[in-house]
């Protein structure tokens, strides 16, 4: 299998995005949490936890879900799978059960990539293991929630997802903090392995709090004819979010798509990007991002690396400024390392054109309604191949920011 260090060769944009210099003081966060006992059903969660979970696509009623994983702080409360050929469990239990898992553990992501991976390697607090058996096609999405309920806590999880040959899996991961929690650190290592003819759709929705620091570290390896599609949505305040998931198209005809929709309010810093190595013939990649600032600072990255002839990839990065404060720094990168490659990008950052607002006002919309319609349209990215249940959650998450309805 191919490997990659997820934060190699990155350009600097105002600060060190690799985290190697230690931009966050890890010692400022608590490494211990009280233990939460297991539950039999998500309905047993406290009302406020259920409510917050619902905002990130986690349905306590488990309607149209193929399974659930729920972790609060450092405790796994529940893991269940309702579809044949689908396994969902605490990663620690999985490592005990399957010794072969060591081949996947810290394989796509390197443990020494930065201080966050190193910290998780040193002090890991569970995470999920998800696997589909060969040929299994799971229609309904599996839901996984990583929740922080203790003020000032560091939660370091490590997830592994494996779609065996010819299998199909949809995951919705919700990451959230309790209403009373303001500060905390979430580090999430996620390693995805998409085998031959398999496909994974991974939808992640964040709803943290205004002083949370969040450091997902993800890598994906996609084999022949495999497909990995990621949808990431964060419309709620967070102090500092930095992620740069990296995928490798390692097999012929492998396809990777990253869709990102983010809103940064004042006080939020989001350094977000996606990278794809197109390492096999006829592999395809698409990175689409929509960044919106209402006073926060955004760095929107994207990096496509074509390593062999015959690959095709496109990067589209659009940023919309809704405030005089805040910044959007788009850094689209294309890197060709072979001939006969087809890679392109488009990037645009700006304010809403007054002319467009006036045009809609001439149809009877107020200035606020016209602005909201344009912003909603900006965020409404067309996600190809998203199952209806996930499309509904994505739409809900993107429009959950009440301000989008009336500025």
């Amino acid at each position: 299998m191919s490997t990659v260090a997820p934060h190699k060769k990155r350009k600097k944009a105002g600060r060190d995005p690799s985290g190697k210099k230690g931009d966050i003081d890890l010692s400022a966060y608590s490494g211990t949490a009280e233990k939460h006992g297991p539950i039999e059903t998500l309905k047993q969660l406290p009302f406020d936890v259920k409510d917050k979970s619902l905002s990130v696509g986690i349905d306590a009623e488990e309607r149209c879900r193929s399974g659930s994983f729920y972790q609060i702080d450092h405790s796994v409360l529940l893991s269940s799978a309702y579809a044949e050929g689908l396994e969902v469990m605490d990663i620690n239990r999985a490592r005990e059960k399957y010794k072969w898992l060591s081949h996947y553990w810290w394989h796509a992501v390197h443990a020494d990539a930065d201080q966050y991976t190193a910290q998780t390697d040193k002090a890991q607090h569970h995470g999920y293991f998800v696997r589909t058996q060969p040929g299994t096609k799971v229609d309904f999405p599996l839901q996984a929630c990583l929740f922080i309920g203790k003020e000032g806590l560091a939660q370091n999880v490590h997830n592994i997802v494996i779609a065996e040959e010819g299998s199909e899996l949809n995951i919705i991961t919700g990451c959230a903090a309790a209403q009373a929690v303001h500060t905390g650190l979430h580090i999430g290592i996620s390693e995805f392995y998409v085998k031959k003819n398999a496909r994974i759709t991974f939808t992640m929705i964040h709803n943290w709090s205004d002083q949370m620091v969040v450091r997902p570290r993800s890598a994906i390896i996609v084999k022949e004819n495999g497909l990995f599609m990621s949808n990431f949505i964060c419309m709620k305040p967070v102090k500092d979010l930095q992620m740069y998931p990296t995928a490798i198209c390692a097999g012929e005809n492998a396809t990777v798509r990253f869709n990102t929709v983010i809103l940064a309010k004042e006080g939020s810093t989001m350094d977000i990007g996606s990278r794809v190595f197109l390492r096999a013939e006829n592999s395809r990649a698409e990175i689409i991002s929509r960044a919106l600032t209402r006073g926060g600072d955004i760095i929107a990255r994207g990096h496509l690396i074509g390593e062999v002839p015959g690959v095709k990839a496109h990067l589209e990065c659009r940023g919309l400024m809704l405030s005089d404060r805040g910044t959007i720094h788009a850094i689209p990168e294309l890197e060709g390392r072979a001939d006969n490659i087809d890679m392109s990008h488009e990037a645009a950052v700006g304010k809403i054109a007054e002319e467009e607002i006036h045009y809609l006002m001439a149809r009877g919309l107020s200035s606020d309604e016209a602005t909201a319609a344009i912003v909603r349209g900006f965020l409404d990215i067309e996600i190809k191949g998203l199952p209806p249940h996930l499309a509904k959650e994505v739409k809900k998450a993107v429009t959950m920011e009440e301000d989008l309805h009336l500025f």
Partner: protein, 246 residues
């Protein structure tokens, strides 16, 4: 319906309209002729209330109310509509979203009217497209008209509705403008009014205007029978208008 008195307008300090007086009665359709840069579009944009068109003197009254300082949406709310000559593309906003928003402001029709309107203008395949994005010249004109059908204004302004439209489509454009302005309705009482800018006058072969104005260098010079004025312009050019005025 519309009464403009002594309207002087500047754009970035430059005087574009100079003491314009205009009256459009209820049920009346008026054509506006003038050479490039004479102030035709500026007059329409001022009536619609676009910022950037500063009214220095004069008033605009609509249905007896002074709307001179009113915002664009309030004017639209009171029944003024406009087909743009070169509307902007609004990325992400679907045509059907705009139609729905217009329909929802009305009480006489529901959303089922949308499919009727788009079919009428052969725009079925455009409902889910970002409005005006990548549309051809003719598609843009039809897209403007379908929005106006959904909006149903009492006073509609058309800025060059025939430019860029092929000979087959212009018949359709004319038919819909007639519908919007209640032209060809026979003896029934007309309430809707219109103001049509046409450079070459093609659209007037399909829409019967009651009267025409000529605007030259920001001033309205004459008003009269549209066909007579158009024939005069065609034979003598706008120079002929100036001579006529002398």
């Amino acid at each position: 319906m519309l009464d403009i008195q002594n309207l002087t307008v500047t754009v970035q300090g430059k005087r574009i309209l100079k003491g314009v007086n205009m009256h459009v009665s209820s049920g009346e359709t008026v054509a506006l002729f003038g050479p490039n840069g004479s102030g035709k579009t500026s007059l329409l944009h001022t009536i619609m209330g676009f910022p950037g068109y500063t009214v220095e003197t004069g008033t605009i009254q609509f249905k007896g109310e002074d709307i001179t300082g009113m915002s664009i949406d309030k004017r639209a709310e009171r029944g003024i509509g406009m087909a743009f000559q070169r509307p902007p593309a609004v990325r992400g906003v679907k045509l059907k979203d705009i139609l729905r928003m217009c329909i929802n402001r009305r009480e006489d029709v529901d959303e089922t009217a949308i499919s009727r309107y788009v079919q009428k203008l052969n725009l079925d395949d455009f409902q889910d497209r970002d409005v005006n994005l990548g549309f051809s010249g003719g598609e843009i004109k039809r897209c403007e008209l379908v929005q106006l059908l959904a909006q149903d204004p009492d006073f509609t302004m058309f800025d060059e509705p025939d430019s860029g439209v092929d000979l087959v489509s212009i018949h359709l454009v004319g038919t819909v403008i007639n519908e919007l302005l209640q032209r060809g309705n026979g003896p029934c009482k007309k309430i809707k009014s219109g103001l049509i800018i046409s450079h070459a006058g093609h659209i007037l072969e399909f829409v019967n205007a009651d009267r025409a104005y000529v605007i030259l260098n920001g001033r309205l010079h004459c008003s009269g029978n549209p066909r007579d004025i158009l024939d005069n312009i065609k034979s003598k050019g706008y120079e002929g208008c100036i001579t006529c005025l002398r």
